[in-house]
Amino acid sequence: MTGAIFSHALRRNWRQILYWGLGMALLGFIVMWVIPDVDALQRTTEMLQAMPRPLLQFLNADDMAALATPEGFISIGFFSRAVLVFAVYAVSFGLRVTANEEDEGILDVLLSLPVPRWRVVVEKFAAYTLMFLIIVALSLGGLWLATSLTTLPVNMGRVLESGVAMIPVVLVMMALTTLIAVVVRRKATAVALTSGIIVGSYFIDFLGRAASGTAADSLRLVSFFNYYDFQAIIQTGIRIGDVVLLVVVTLVLLGGTVWAFARRDIGT
């Protein structure tokens, strides 16, 4: 029955949604909690200005003007960390689409039922995408709750846009993990490859930022993180072009996964 695998994946993982969501909401709450007032924010910015610039670039916190605002502080204090934490989510749940059950031998039973292979991939991916949306919503909820307890003027619309813009970049990483796991068939290899690509992507983005106008800068085009510039989003709003591009890349990777999974042996 259509949707059975989707709802099963949600039912099996609701506790994890809760843990991830509450954890991220707590992070958002703490980030807001440490901004007691605008003066303190200014002092923090001055302190950061004393730090080496490459380090600030690595932390994606080199824009002092942005950092001096509450939204800028949230973008650096929360979103710069959240995207890395969610990279772990992407790898972990990307493996759950096919690799974990194949490794455990459970796929034999599932695929002996009247279900096409593409549905296993699509329904599970959809379930983990919905779970991620819930986690992002809980995270933003934590930020909103903490904001409402302070007197700081925070543009929650921009914070929301930063949260929404983070979704497709995490989905790209999840789709990439799923595809690599289907192609290489070994979980450990898939984890190593995907992690390598994600870390490499982060470094390419960092190097490109640090050396603008060089070849390294143009290499940023191939980095996921180039398409999620949370500092720019918090200042100028969501970049629809980047979101669309990442969604298209996700769909292409997912299509590749479905294609590869339908054509290969299971569990060999």
Binding site: G105, V109, S112, L113, P114, G267
Partner: protein, 314 residues
């Protein structure tokens, strides 16, 4: 030759696995057919290609040559449609460990888009399976019972069972045999693999013998029985001469060992027991012949050595 009403029909079905150590031919040009209402035993030692055949039939792996038809439809092209009519029990059964038996059945039921839970409950009661326990807490035998319930609960037209009684206690094995007979009585078919001759003899109509990826023969169980023999070990208080057994009907290969007398017996026990009636018998032990020995009896040493040479060459 194509048989229109065959439930399973394979035509030169083959599978070669490619790995780091080169290619392994797991199944070689298999031609096989299973008829409606038949229990077909697929017999062979470990590594003979039984599981490969089953996985090909279920489209879990893809053939490197040939084709498999189930209910006249290509097992690969029409796999989803065919799986509605098939119940499957894998040889190594792994299920969702954090779910209870009930939850597993519920999930399988919803994926099939049916409501087979009332019959599933009947089956679990019949197999004495507690459905409220998490799969991770099941013994291997109970996990196997759950696998049988999954395979049987939608009353499929074809059951494909890989070593179904592995880990089941004798009482449950009997219930399993009854279930198979009931399946046959309802006109449904069973394809079961095993390496246990007695199990196949107990419930199957016909048997295919697989060895080294090649189908050696397809025989009725009654024909196979004619090759049936037992190894008998008699432990006696006082030693007797092996010559005592000379000319006894059905007795051959008599060997005197430290344990007593070991011999090969075809047919009834009575002549053997009468021959040793004057001796004090401490113990009688019987052993089933191995598949290798049955094969040797059935096809002769030439066939066996030819196959062994082929296997060694691979």
């Amino acid at each position: 030759m194509r048989q229109d009403n065959a439930v399973i029909e394979t035509d030169r079905l083959g599978k070669v696995y490619s790995g780091r150590k080169g290619q392994v031919r797991a199944l070689d040009r298999l031609d096989l057919s299973v008829q409606p209402g038949e229990i077909f035993g697929y017999l062979g030692p470990n590594g003979a290609g039984k599981t490969t055949t089953i996985r090909l039939l279920l489209d879990l792996i893809r053939p490197t040559m040939g084709q498999a038809l189930i209910f006249g439809q290509d097992a690969r092209e029409n796999s989803v449609e065919l799986h509605r009519r098939i119940g499957f029990l894998p040889g190594e059964l792994n299920l969702w460990k954090n779910l209870t038996g009930d939850q597993v059945l519920d999930y399988v039921n919803s994926v099939r888009g049916r409501n087979d839970l009332p019959y599933a409950r009947q089956l679990s009661e019949r197999l004495s399976l507690d459905m409220g326990i998490r799969v991770r807490c099941y013994s291997s035998g109970n996990r196997r019972k759950l696998g049988l319930v999954i395979a049987l609960m939608h009353k499929p037209d074809l059951l494909i069972l890989d070593e179904p009684t592995n880990g089941l206690d004798p009482l449950i094995q009997q219930i399993f045999h009854d279930l198979m007979r009931e399946t046959r009585a309802e006109g449904r078919s069973v394809f079961l693999s095993s390496h246990i001759l007695s199990e196949v003899q107990a419930i199957c109509d016909r048997v295919g013998i697989l060895r080294g990826g090649q189908l050696q023969a397809v025989e009725t169980v009654s024909a196979l029985r004619s090759a049936d023999f037992r190894w008998v070990t008699l432990r006696l208080r006082e030693p007797v001469s092996p010559r005592l057994f000379d000319g006894l009907p059905g007795v051959s290969d008599v060997i005197q060992s430290s344990d007593g007398i070991r011999l090969r017996l075809v047919g009834d026990f009575d002549p053997l027991l009468r021959a040793v009636e004057s001796a004090y018998i401490l113990d009688i032990r019987t052993e089933e012949p191995s598949l290798e020995e049955i094969f040797l009896t059935y096809y002769g040493s030439h066939a066996l050595s030819a196959t062994s040479v082929e296997m060694a060459a691979r």
